[in-house]
């Protein structure tokens, strides 16, 4: 039977972008190749071209992606709406390149400096 009922699983917000302490050293990776892989594997279709996320489909990944061990751990083992990507279908080097691309995304502008946003929200 496909159906399974289980207790709620809390996904820590720390798994996603903006995680505070990034103590692990950044892995080797090529941001240019990583951008190509981000497109090739279709990451962008849920998370946006800049890894910015979208409310209904994919968490925010960048800027400031979570540390590589946690990032890799989630990608390899998730059982939520995002399927797990094993090394067989997403090689480790490609994943490190993707992480490098996400690290290369510049910080978002300060909303207080955007006049359009001051008038939004009624």
């Amino acid at each position: 039977m496909k159906l399974a009922i289980f207790a709620p699983v809390m996904i820590s917000a720390a798994l996603f972008a903006g995680a505070a302490a990034v103590s692990a050293p950044a892995p080797q990776g090529d941001a240019v190749k990583g951008k190509a892989s981000f497109l090739k594997y279709g990451c962008y279709t849920c998370h946006g071209y800049e890894g910015q996320g979208a409310a209904a489909t994919g968490k925010k990944l960048a800027p400031n992606p979570l540390a590589y061990p946690a990032f890799s751990g989630f990608v390899r083992s998730t059982s939520r709406d995002m399927p797990p990507f094993t090394e067989q279908i997403l090689p480790e080097q490609d994943l490190m390149d993707i992480h490098a691309y996400l690290r290369s995304i510049p910080p978002a502008p300060n909303p207080a400096t955007i006049p359009l946003l001051q008038g939004a929200g009624g």
Partner: protein, 657 residues
């Protein structure tokens, strides 16, 4: 002249039979000699009469008697002309009596009688005949038109093939509880049908094709019958739960003349069903005594009065209103307004108003390889449902969703029930409960202020300056230009950004989605909605998914042809992204290569030029715009065009979601 009990003039000369007879006789004259030449000696050719016709006494009499002259029109008694008053004129009189504004059609021979009556006898005024290039477009237009005006329009289709074209749009209207009046032509009498294609398009029981997704149907066989069924169809469609209905118009009934028309039956719409007073009081007691009541609304409000009532109820309780967006239910900048599922997880009482999916509201389904499900509810949370859908549902299509047990179920129309629920809440409220409610209100106001800050940070942080254009950027740019206008959003939303950034106050400013999620709804429904706004001089805005547009892009031609002002912004993300995610899941669950998901899911190579597509149909086209810095000027230009009373399409290349 002899009249039948139905009012139909007894035919003394039948136009079709006369013509058929001539044709057959002529053919016989031409071919008899040739046939004789190849027949073996001693055999004789069969008589050249229609093979299946054994003339009735009436028919035989009609063939030999002297034509009777009617007293209607100069052509009365003229051979080859309709004798008497055409039946379809009476049909139009009935439609006019219902104050129908528009009949939307792709022209069809099976409806030619009524078509002629509309444009000649009725002078194409109220109802006006509108032209569409697909029956799905016409039906979705009627769908969108109703949600703005509260008035049904008629979608007039060819029998069989036209109805099948319309079927997906009927399903959307069915799921969205919208009273589209479907009319189709059909030829019942095999002896009267034109042979070939018209017969191929005739059908014994046309409504069978869509009976699971309409509320009522009939195939009248006399004008008296039509008059009664037209009124009944309207009443049934317009009694909550609103749903589509179908009338089948027999070609002969449309085209034959009668001496005089039957009376047009009176029609009154039943008052919508309100909730049982005892059940309403029980619901009020639960709500007043709850520590954290949450009200969830989907297709709750039919009018502005409904919105006002819902605001009153929520403010009495300081209850969070979770808007599922089936209609414009609640002002989105109100401190009690919320979206998403988080409030439900904290509730001790949940009141669901016209929910499509109560089960999905209080349970989460995770589309993983294990198809996980989990309840969102706190232990002991009580559930109350008010919905008119409990009064009418069918078994085949599963839009009724999973069965959700509730503690109080009120089978009634929400908007009709809200006034009594408000009074019951007032009656149950005590000073002690009032204090609890007031404290809850203060917390809601604080949370609302924080949500505004969060919205601004989210917008800036979601690819604000990126190319392709981010949803939040487009919606913010638009808002800066429309906020002082009398605007309305007629298409689907865009990642809820309009609900986060704009200020929806009026019921007509948002019409919800398709209902059945049948792709191809958004563009034609937006056209129908824009038609409704045109009467009011409003600025309608349609954020249009590109894939949806390509189902029936001919709707753009209808915009231009009928001069319907509409600002369409193409959300051009060049893929069926919903399906991309499914492909990725499949491949990942099966541990297969992840670089093939784009096959049959992307809309590129070549990219569609929506500006050129619009231009080709007489709609001004702007773009493609892929740099956010170019957006403002393009949008200003587009808004100016719409203010001149014309439609425009602005093609914006967008982020995927």
């Amino acid at each position: 002249m002899k009249k039948t009990p139905s009012g139909k003039v007894a035919k003394t000369v039948d136009r079709r039979k006369f013509l058929t007879g001539v044709a057959v006789a002529g053919a016989a004259a031409v071919t008899t000699d040739a046939k004789s030449a190849i027949l073996p000696t001693g055999e004789h050719p069969a008589p050249r009469v229609p093979s299946a016709v054994r003339p009735s006494t009436q028919f035989a009499q009609a063939q030999i008697s002297t034509p009777t002259v009617t007293d209607h029109g100069a052509h009365a008694g003229h051979p080859g002309l309709t004798q008497g008053k055409p039946g379809s004129d009476y049909m139009l009189d009935c439609i006019k009596a219902l104050d129908i504004d528009y009949i939307i059609t792709n022209p069809a021979s099976s409806c030619r009688g009524l078509h002629d009556s509309i444009v000649t006898y009725g002078d194409n005024k109220k109802p006006e005949l509108l032209t569409v290039m697909h029956e799905e477009t016409g039906t979705a237009m009627a769908h969108g038109y109703f949600k703005v005006t509260g008035k049904p329009a008629i979608s007039l289709c060819h029998g069989t093939v036209g109805l099948q074209h319309a079927a997906m749009a009927i399903y959307n209207a069915w799921c969205d509880r919208v009273p589209v009046i479907m009319m189709i032509g059909n030829s019942l009498d095999a002896n009267q049908r034109r042979p070939g294609v018209p017969t191929t398009h005739s059908v014994q029981d046309p409504a069978a094709m869509v009976r699971d997704i309409i509320k009522w149907d009939d195939q009248p066989t006399s004008l008296v019958h039509f008059g009664e069924s037209m009124m009944r169809a309207y009443r049934i469609a317009m009694t909550p739960p609103y749903e589509p209905v179908l009338l089948v118009l027999d070609e002969d009934l449309q085209e034959h003349g009668v001496e005089s028309f039957p009376r047009i039956p009176k029609m009154s719409i039943p008052a919508p069903p309100a909730g049982n007073p005892n059940a309403v009081r029980d619901a009020a007691r639960l709500l007043v005594n709850a520590d954290n009541p949450v009200i969830v609304a989907d297709r709750a409000c039919r009018t502005q009065a409904g919105v006002d009532s819902l605001v009153q109820l929520c403010e009495l309780l300081n209850a969070t209103l979770v808007d599922q967006g089936g209609r414009m239910n609640f002002p989105n900048q109100h401190p009690l307004y919320a979206r998403g599922t988080a409030p439900v997880t904290q509730a001790d009482v949940v009141l669901g108003l016209e929910l499509t999916d109560f089960f999905g509201t209080v349970n989460e389904f995770i589309d993983s390889a294990e198809a996980q499900q989990e309840s969102r509810l706190k232990q002991g949370a009580k559930l109350i449902s008010i919905t008119a859908v409990d009064l009418y549902m069918k078994s085949n299509f599963q839009d009724i969703q999973r069965y959700q047990p509730v503690d109080i179920s009120i089978a009634a129309d929400t908007e009709a029930t809200l006034p009594s629920l408000i009074e019951a809440v007032k009656m149950e409220m005590t000073p002690a409960r009032r204090a609890v409610v007031d404290k809850r209100g203060q917390a809601a106001k604080a949370a609302y202020a924080q949500s505004k800050e969060r919205m601004r940070a989210d917008a800036a942080g979601q690819a604000w300056n990126a190319s392709p254009v981010a949803s939040s950027r487009l919606v913010a740019e638009l808002w800066s230009l429309i906020k002082t206008e009398d605007w309305a959003l007629v298409g689907r939303s865009l990642g809820n950004w309009p609900q986060r950034m704009w200020d929806f106050k009026q019921h007509h400013q948002f019409i919800g989605g398709s209902g059945g999620a049948g792709v191809g709804y958004n563009l034609p429904a937006a056209v129908g909605a824009a038609l409704g706004h045109k009467q009011m001089g409003r600025l309608p805005i349609n954020i249009q998914p590109d894939g949806d547009c390509m189902y029936a892009p001919g709707a753009l031609w209808t915009l231009a042809h009928h001069q319907i002002p509409l600002l369409t912004i193409m959300n051009n993300n060049r893929a069926y992204h919903q399906e991309v995610m499914h492909l990725q899941r499949m491949a990942a669950w099966r541990n297969r290569r992840m670089d093939r998901w784009h096959i049959a899911t992307k809309i590129d190579n070549p990219n569609v030029s929506y500006a050129k597509l619009a231009d080709s149909m007489g709609v001004a086209g702007i773009g493609p715009i892929d740099n956010p810095a170019d957006l403002s000027a393009a949008l200003k230009r587009g808004i100016d065009i719409v203010k001149r009373g014309e439609p425009v399409v602005i093609d914006v290349v967008m982020q995927p979601r």
